[in-house]
């Protein structure tokens, strides 16, 4: 699943859920707030009615308005209050804030309640008439602090954003966790698929090489017998060539046997030999088969290096690598540098050929992968198998137009 699909599959439902939660919570909070405001208004109106009764009583008892207002002015939740006569003239007023009595007598109706915003918070205003005795009417104007309601709203809003933030963070962590799991699962799936394909190809290769090996082996045995006979009957001056021919035939036979055996786990026949001698032998074989006279193979080693390995297989591996370098190098030189560090031998094969494209680098050790017209794409695959059978590693570094370097690391003697 690509990042875009991941976004669609996980992120969008999550974002959708968050949006729905946000909208529903906001609507719910707004509803509760409105209902609470209504409730508070009703409660405060009821309180104001009681207050009116008290004030009526004190007025009947001929208390002065200032005396009546005095105890109320000490109450924190009453921001301001005023008593007006029937002509709407203010008889007395109290306010916790200097000169603040936000009453417009021009616009005030006979009885109403409303809420205003102020720097001290929301204030519930109540303007209502009442009568003390027949024929004598008054108006009471009150401003109640809604600080507690506002504190509740702020508390609710803070909790909402806290919960919202927590859900968001948990959701993100959950989504990332899912994404990691999914990526891990897809990676494993891809690896398993690649492994399956490789095994499939390997089976095909096995079938193909077994068939080819079988087909070649029979005529090769006949040719070998012919060389045996030739060696016996050939004149002395031809003995060397016939012997060389016989040796090459036997080498082909061995390679075919080994080739077939690569399909099974490799069985190494180890012996100790000089790397310089092996390179010399490989160089001899390659110079014979190469039609590029200008190709120069140079070998440099830091000290005398001996390998304990399967000589034939290592021979085959080096031939494959050098052949590859010679075929890739258009007129350049191929150099082999060997170095022993502790118990490890490092062999570096460099050519100044055309190089390998970046996208091909990861495939060149795969069986039947080749960009050459004549190549089967088995050489480098076998080389890797041989190196790995010796508990070694092989890597390639290449740059188009500059050349290619193969790095082999195998245990020394």
């Amino acid at each position: 699943m690509r990042s875009k699909n991941f976004l669609l599959f996980f992120s969008l439902p999550f974002i959708g859920m968050i949006v729905i939660f946000f909208v529903l919570s906001s609507l719910n909070r707004a509803y509760i707030r409105n209902k609470t405001e209504d409730l508070v208004k009703e409660q405060l109106e009821a309180t104001a009615e009681i207050l009116k009764v008290d004030i009526s009583h004190f007025l009947r008892e001929n208390y002065s308005v200032d005396e009546i207002f005095e105890p109320y002015s000490r109450r924190e939740n009453i921001y301001y209050m005023a008593l007006l006569n029937e002509n709407r003239e203010i008889l007395s007023w109290r306010s916790q804030f200097e000169g603040y009595l936000p009453l417009s007598l021009q616009s005030a109706k006979n009885e109403e309640s409303w809420i205003i915003d102020s720097p001290a918070g929301k204030i519930f205003n109540y303007f209502s008439p009442f009568s003390v005795q027949e024929g004598k009417a008054y108006f009471l104007y009150l401003g109640y602090s809604l600080k507690n309601l506002e504190e509740m709203v702020v508390y609710s809003r803070r909790n909402f954003f806290l919960i919202f933030g927590l859900i968001f963070v948990i959701g993100i962590i959950f989504s990332l966790g899912l994404f990691q799991l999914q990526r891990h699962y897809l990676e494993k799936k891809r690896e398993a698929e690649e492994e399956r394909k490789e095994k499939e190809r390997y089976r095909e290769i096995s079938a193909f090489t077994s068939g080819v090996g079988h087909e070649i082996k029979n005529p090769l045995n006949s040719v070998s017998l012919i060389f045996e006979l030739l060696q016996k009957k050939a004149p002395v001056y031809l003995q060397e060539e016939v012997s060389a021919g016989k040796e090459e035939i036997q080498k082909i036979s061995r390679i075919i046997d080994q080739f077939a055996s690569y399909l099974r786990p490799l069985k190494l026949s180890k012996e100790t030999f000089s790397l310089a001698e092996l390179v010399s032998s490989v160089r001899g074989s390659l110079i014979k088969e190469s039609d590029k006279a200008e190709v120069e193979i140079r070998y440099v080693e830091s000290s005398s290096i001996a390998l304990n390995a399967d000589k034939d297989l290592m021979n085959q591996a080096l031939i494959n690598l050098l052949r590859n370098s010679i075929e890739a190098g258009s007129g350049g030189e191929v150099s082999i540098k060997a170095q022993q560090k502790k118990k490890k031998v490092f062999i570096k094969i460099e050519d100044s050929g055309q190089g390998i494209a970046e996208e091909d680098e990861q495939h060149i050790f795969e069986p039947f992968f080749s960009r050459k017209r004549k190549g089967l794409g088995i050489g480098l695959y076998l080389t890797k198998k041989i190196v790995e059978a010796h508990e070694g590693k092989i890597e390639v570094q290449s740059k188009i137009g500059v050349g290619t370097t193969f790095l082999i690391q195998i245990p020394g003697d």
Binding site: N62, S64, V65, N85, I90, L91, S92, W93, S95, F97, E98, G99, Y100, L101, P102, L103, S104, L105, Q106, I116, S118, P119, A120
Partner: protein, 147 residues
Amino acid sequence: MKKGLSLLIIVYLLGFWSLSSGQEHQKPQHFYNVDTEKKIKGTIQEIIMEPRYKDSSPFLIIKLEEKKTHQKFIVEISPVRFFTHDFHKGEELEVVGSLYSKDGNQNIIARQIRFKGEIVILRDKRGFPAWRGGGMKHKKRRKGKGF
């Protein structure tokens, strides 16, 4: 005896009448009345400090003479500790505030003043004092606009 009692009743009734009528006619302290808002422009005549509200620190009071009518106004600005600008006699001042009369004087509770090109907001539109919340606000005068 009867005469004395009648006199006592008359004195008592007169006293009660004067007390109750005094209660009704006692003028309450003035508040910021949004219905009487007015704008005046004048010259500073005098700067004084005096207590205005119960339990409040002294207020900065300015006596202002209106330019056109030469009418005098007593302008209540704010508590002295709150106001950070310097006024001087003879300087021009424009005031928006709530007007009321007291003892034959025209008084104004200032909501907003313009002074040396700067607008200082002392109260909000309903008269809530800036020194009790929100703080003093300053506005630079815009070209071609009054307030």
